[in-house]
Symmetry: C2
Subunit: 308 residues, 2 copies
């Protein structure tokens, strides 16, 4: 033990981390080995850097266990905890930039978030996702055209999977007052690549405060709010799938999203819509999809059903 500026500087076993890393056996998958080696090194460096105590470690374990215990097929609290520290948004950036290396003109991506459902209904173009209109809603018509990011040709029969929270800040699976699959739907583009549906102009909402993600935000003296946004997954055979969110340029919290999902190129402008008794606002949103490259780059991975 040495003293530095009067503070005890404790030295730890310099061989410990390598011993843990080297326990990995010869038959481990190479990528598993690579990922876990880096994870072990960083987690150990973190613990030594802050002199993490047993009590603090146990508090962290309890928080993660609590997240698992709150998670169901309709809610992923573990994911939300990592969202609060920006991990999902960072991984999204990494995945997007790695996979999009063959084309830089495709629509940017954003995190899936914990509220996607794999079983949302297919609806027809022109239909509404708004099964119950809140009093304070700004009903909007969202529409646009899907094209090949390289050739500019329209893409027919592409899937646009959309979901959003209601004006009370809740997704339908969080809210007994909303009909099942309210503010959700899957749409397919027509022969000219066009899609369109009614939705709500999105409003800010807080991430749930009844679990460890909310607790962590409180401990960090941070607000819980996300800027108003609409979630989208776009898929088409032969093209890289897109998982994204679009943000209303006029929404609060655009500069300090509690889960750090706002990125350049994802901000959109809702405008007033005339002569439509069903909607006072509209959003034109065209989407460019990158064709699968010949360089072996695959799909941008999107959610599996387990991520609901």
């Amino acid at each position: 033990m040495t003293k530095v500026n009067g503070t005890a500087k404790v030295e730890y076993d310099p061989n410990f981390t390598n011993a843990v890393i080297n326990a990995t056996g010869p038959k481990a998958d190479n990528r598993m080995r690579e990922v876990m080696t880096a994870l072990i090194r960083h987690v150990h460096d973190f613990a030594r850097e802050v002199n993490l105590t047993t009590d603090e470690y146990m508090a962290g374990v309890s928080l993660l266990n609590w997240a698992g215990q709150m998670s169901t097929d309709r809610r992923n609290e573990g994911q939300l905890v990592t969202d609060v520290i920006g991990l999902e948004s960072l991984v999204d950036e990494i995945t997007y930039k790695q996979a999009a290396a063959s084309s830089s003109s495709a629509t940017p991506s954003a995190i899936l978030g914990p509220f996607w459902r794999h079983d949302a209904p297919i609806r027809k173009n022109g239909e509404s996702t708004v099964l119950k209109v809140p009093n304070d809603a700004k009903v909007s018509y969202m529409y646009g055209r899907l094209t090949d990011a390289v050739s500019g040709e329209p893409l027919a029969n592409a899937l646009v999977d959309v979901w959003q929270a209601s004006t009370n800040g809740l997704y339908e699976q969080q809210d007994e007052e909303q009909p099942d699959c309210n503010l959700r739907g899957k749409f397919y583009t027509d022969e000219e690549g066009n899609y369109g549906f009614y939705c709500l102009r999105p409003t800010p909402y807080p991430v749930p405060s009844d679990g460890p993600a909310g607790k962590l935000l409180d401990l960090l003296d941070r607000h819980h709010y996300r800027p108003g946004h609409v979630h989208l997954i776009i898929m088409k055979d032969g093209y890289k799938s897109i998982t994204t969110q679009i943000f209303d340029r006029e929404t609060p919290y655009l500069d300090n999203d509690s889960v750090f999902a706002v990125k350049d190129g994802l901000t959109v402008d809702f405008t007033e819509r005339n002569d439509d008794p069903k909607a006072g606002w509209e959003l034109k949103y065209d989407i460019a999809m990158a064709p699968m490259g010949s360089d072996g780059a695959g799909n941008v991975p999107i959610a599996t059903p387990g991520a609901a």
Copy 2:
């Protein structure tokens, strides 16, 4: 994007991690800020270093959620997952070395592990923790003396809380065939600082393979075994508490414990015991406790009931 040796080297937003760190508000506790700042930096560096994909991230989240879902008041699978990557053992080293700075002669510590119970019964010195003797058991008498690590004086009325697995590799709460609180007990030292009880000479066992910790070991091509050991917590007012494990010097897996808990000074020698019809083996184990320093160093934190 730049190319390095033919491999695409993608550059990520250099401001992202600081933006997440700087979201922490002014009222956050200073230690919370310090710990989370380091955690965020290391987790982000890890993700960028390995170019972590969304699929890999989601697999990690699912594994952590699974751990929480398996955890009960009798089993802590989240803790076990972190044990597999050596985190609990490292945090134990950090905590022990930080708190023991005022005395270097105290008994070394080791991890609590996930099988401690706060409600183990108090038993009298000389009694047995072995409520059901397995056919292949080596019943042993463990005894010793507790002393002040500085003065060498005996410590009366100190608590020795002990637990161990049976020869089938299971702790009593994992095994319907074992009586409640088998192989567990709390003992108090007598006026001369002595304690003693019957136990089993410990045998190796695998960490549970039905959950994410076992899955992680398999993915890392590692064995599941722990060397034979006895768990101890020793507490006495005015002294730093000790949470430790002692390892039979002749046990297999002493050099490659699946949770990395073996440390210098924790290995012990069981010897043959003569003229005791109840036990063929014995272990003399004296324990030195460090008095609370005048430097403000507190107890080595031990388990809370939530860590059962």
